[in-house]
């Protein structure tokens, strides 16, 4: 009898050990990738690298200023499109649960969240690039579509957590509905909404596939939003296939910069959610 209990206990301990081993071993690839990118990238990054355009292939020197500015512009424009739309749709979903429109809109947000990024690229190609040509704007709209579901869902989730009494108190004072939302509900849920927005930016800043057929990429420095524009992830993709060693080196540098953006944005989200105790 004792032997059986011992066996069961040993089994239990062994299982725990296995679980711990499996759970922690899988962080190893991530750590290796991060350290490798940092090791290869950090030596590339200096002032010249950040403020210069690329030199012609095979010529040493040059930087990634075109991609850096392009990425910030494209992501900025996507935010301008996606944040208001996502915010308002999120408010609708949390304010009108149970209506038919809320059901279908919610369903469509779920669908959008799962749409492969390359498909978004194709669709925007037909909607915007075909009639107007390759442009940074078309890339921004593609990325905005990727951003929307995250903004909508985080807004909705945050607002659902707020107590109804808040809204009722404001309404009973005779405050009009839109002012209740704008001056009471949104400020109360601000931290949650903000962290959702930052998270969505962190997600799209590394997206490459929707930009392949929209913003296209550009070897020159350009701030013309109606023309093709380079972006960090596209530059990495383009340079990764390059036969020239210094372009590959620059891709490591660009990866490092991109990684830092993503890390900083994610850590900011973490700090906000921890400070305000929000579950996303």
């Amino acid at each position: 009898m004792d032997a059986r209990i011992k066996l069961r206990n040993t089994k239990s301990v062994l299982f725990k050990a296995l679980i711990i081993f499996l759970a922690f071993i899988i962080t190893l690839p991530l750590i290796i990738v991060l350290l490798y990118i940092i090791k290869m990238g950090v030596v590339q990054v200096n002032w010249n690298f950040l403020v210069h355009e690329p030199t012609p292939e095979g010529v040493a020197g040059g930087g990634i200023a075109n991609a850096l500015v392009g990425s910030l512009l494209i992501v900025g424009m996507s935010s301008i499109v996606a944040i208001p739309v996502g915010l308002l749709a999120g408010i609708y979903l949390s304010e009108n649960p149970g209506t038919r429109l809320a059901y279908y809109a919610g369903l469509c947000v779920d669908i959008l969240q799962g749409v492969p990024s390359i498909v978004v690229g194709i669709v925007i190609y037909f909607w915007i690039v075909k009639p107007f040509g390759f442009s940074a704007i078309s890339g921004s709209i593609a990325l905005a579509i990727m951003m929307l579901p995250i903004v909508v869902r985080s807004t909705e989730q945050t607002l659902l957590l707020l107590p109804d009494s808040l809204k009722e108190a404001a309404l009973s004072l005779g405050v009009p509905y839109h002012r209740v939302i704008m001056k009471v509900i949104i400020p109360c849920g601000f931290a949650g909404i903000l962290s959702g927005i930052i998270l969505s930016i962190a997600r799209i800043i590394g997206e490459t596939a929707p930009l392949l057929f929209t913003a296209l990429g550009n070897v020159f420095f350009s701030t013309k939003v109606t023309g093709p524009m380079e972006s960090l992830p596209h530059l990495i993709y383009f340079y990764a296939k390059s036969p020239y060693q210094d372009q590959i080196d620059q891709a490591w540098g660009a990866s490092f910069i991109l990684l830092m953006f993503v890390l900083i944005l994610n850590i900011t989200t973490k700090l906000i959610t921890r400070r305000w105790n929000i579950q996303l």
């Binding site: 069961r8 679980i19 922690f24 991530l30 799962g114 390359i118 194709i122 596939a209 891709a251």
Partner: protein, 306 residues
């Protein structure tokens, strides 16, 4: 009197704004629906030429040769299924382990938080970075491995792509699994403990059966990610539409997935049929990921409402 009128005007304008605001909310929600419907219609209309001229046989056609206007999607279907399912098989034990560890063994404290944040970080790293790293670091290692086991040492190919994909999709199943395991009612677990069950027995015969459908939904969501993943796979899979004949050749040799062939050839497509053949792949991809995601979400809502 005049003061009163002013107030009345003000409240009328407020009421007007209230109506406008409500309308705007509705319009923005309709935008969500329109985006999805528009995507579907665009994909269907643009892939019409292929659907009409090649029919359903296109999806199982063996040869993809745009130069001679021969289109068959089998290499890409096989490539997508093979990479995704290999990735799922590799990643599932790890996602379950993370879910059980964070959901049952260690739910609070710094170590638990550290692991949780690290796992979430896996999903945050852009896929292009995984691809780029994989191409220069993982591929040489895989090449050495392939030489050892005696297959053609391409390095790039289905196998490399699956490995990277497996790591990339872990967070989706793991974080869902964690929250579901935490939701298992403690009276159930306590009952089992009171009967003298060990921790392993509680996990095996209470927690896992209770969360089974939820964990399955997590796997589905991971699968949805894997099917549509583009950049990392495009860099690592080797991009050839002519795949081998035996399973070993296909698995270790270069290939193509639906997403990677679109990424590679969409800008090169020079005539209508070629275009629409690629778009039909996008349509299939859209359809499959939508169905998988909706089933997954449905299981989750059913589960969390219970």
């Amino acid at each position: 009197m005049s003061v009163k009128n002013k107030r009345l005007d003000l409240s009328y304008s407020q009421m007007k704004w209230e109506t406008i605001f409500k309308r705007i909310l509705i319009v923005m929600s309709v935008v969500m629906v329109l985006l999805v419907v528009g995507t579907l219609i665009t994909l269907i209309v643009k892939s019409m030429p292929t659907i009409k001229s090649l029919g359903i046989g296109y999806l199982w056609g063996k040869v993809w040769d745009p130069v001679n206007n021969v289109y068959g999607a089998r290499p890409f279907l096989l490539g997508t299924l093979l990479t995704s399912f290999t990735a799922i098989i590799i990643s599932t034990p790890f996602s379950y382990a993370i879910a059980i560890y964070l959901g049952e063994y260690n739910t609070k404290g710094w170590l638990s938080n550290l692991l949780k944040n690290t796992v979430e970080l896996i999903a945050a790293v852009p896929s292009i970075i995984y691809g780029f790293w994989g191409f220069f670091v993982l591929v040489p290692i895989v090449r050495t491995f392939e030489t050892k086991i005696g297959v053609a040492p391409y390095g790039v190919g289905v196998f490399s792509a699956s490995l990277v994909l497996a790591v990339m999709i872990i967070p989706y199943a793991a974080s869902l699994g964690t929250s579901l395991i935490r939701m298992v009612p403690s009276p159930l677990k306590e009952g089992a403990y009171a009967l003298g069950a060990t921790r392993f027995e509680v996990i095996r015969s209470v927690i896992l059966p209770f969360t089974r459908s939820g964990l399955f939904a997590g796997i589905l969501l991971s699968l949805g990610r894997a099917l549509g993943e583009t950049m990392a796979v495009t860099i690592l899979i080797g991009n050839t539409s002519a795949i081998g004949n035996t399973f070993k050749d296909i698995f270790f040799g270069p290939g193509n997935t639906m997403a990677s062939v679109i990424a590679n050839e969409f800008s090169e497509a020079d005539h209508d049929l070629y275009y629409s053949a690629l778009i039909e792949l996008g349509l299939v991809l859209f359809f499959v990921t939508v169905v998988i995601n909706l089933i997954g979400k449905r299981i989750i809502t059913k589960y969390t409402n219970k």
